[in-house]
Assembly symmetry: C2
Homo-oligomer: 136 residues x 2
DNA sequence: TTTTAAATTTGTAATGATTATATTTTATAT
DNA sequence: ATATAAAATATAATCATTACAAATTTAAAA
């Protein structure tokens, strides 16, 4: 799914597209690096000098309510965000701390044990050392 | 895997079995409810009035280094611990906040994309509403 | 058994991420 | 242009975790 216009996309999901909201959402779809609040803030503060970190928090929480971003909690005390809401796995490299995406096959989950449970979210993440770091 | 004697198990893993360490480990294997530090502390403080929360933190971090417990980070700001180090999935109910175990089939992961990556940890968790809560 | 040293536990302070609150700024409607 | 609502900002508060130093316990040495 490619998002042509961030403003339209926000509107379509019931979010008034302010400058800050557009830039934060654009940052997420252009940099698929699963950034933290701090990363987003530091990067965008260059373009928007008045930006407040609170706004980044508020905006991401709003995005989550409206289901256009997902939260990634791999490490405690390091919350990351992802504008790709499709089901996919994440691999975090413990060397370079990059977070990679990888495909997941839903029906391959053995979920019989959870018969009678209503599953709303599925999260899969691996940790280890990425190809890049292994070659060094 | 059933652990007969907590003290022996700790020794076998290079951990000197102090009273606090034994009790904390026993709590984990007897209560498979994936407790938080706070839960462990509150429960054990009844038996060990001198217990310090710092000790619970220190002990769990030691257990993690020695690979006899795993950390579960489903929610940001709610770190839980599991003495079952085998690969299995977790289901967290958003109603009663219980965390259930469920089996996972390792080879069912589609990991071709991660060829060349060294995978050290695999984590799978789902969120939703458990059977119990759905029946109310 | 006493003495000494090391390991462990404890209490308190510091840190850092997130949220709460109040104020200011911006957008919208009359 | 004025009033009202929404959004952004600055600052303070909260809370989980860690850092640090002192006290206690355990183990080793004498
Ligand atoms: Mn992703
Ligand atoms: Mn478990
Ligand atoms: Zn790497
Ligand atoms: Zn439930």
């Amino acid at each position: 799914m490619t998002i042509i216009n961030a403003g339209d996309y926000l509107k379509k999901h019931g979010i008034k597209p302010s400058l800050q909201r557009i830039r934060i959402f654009e940052y997420l779809i252009k940099n698929k690096n699963h950034p933290t609040v701090d990363t987003i803030f530091r990067e965008l503060a260059k373009e928007i000098p008045t930006l407040s970190k609170t706004t980044v928090y508020n905006t991401l929480n709003l995005f989550m309510e409206k289901n256009i971003v997902k939260v990634i909690t791999i490490e405690e005390n390091e919350t990351r965000y992802d504008a790709d809401t499709s089901l996919h796995g994440h691999f975090k490299c413990t060397e370079c701390s990059r977070v990679y995406d990888f495909d997941l096959d839903v029906p391959k989950f053995k979920e019989e044990i959870l018969k009678g449970f209503e599953i709303q979210e599925r999260h899969v993440y691996f940790k280890g050392i990425c190809k890049d770091c292994l070659l060094n």
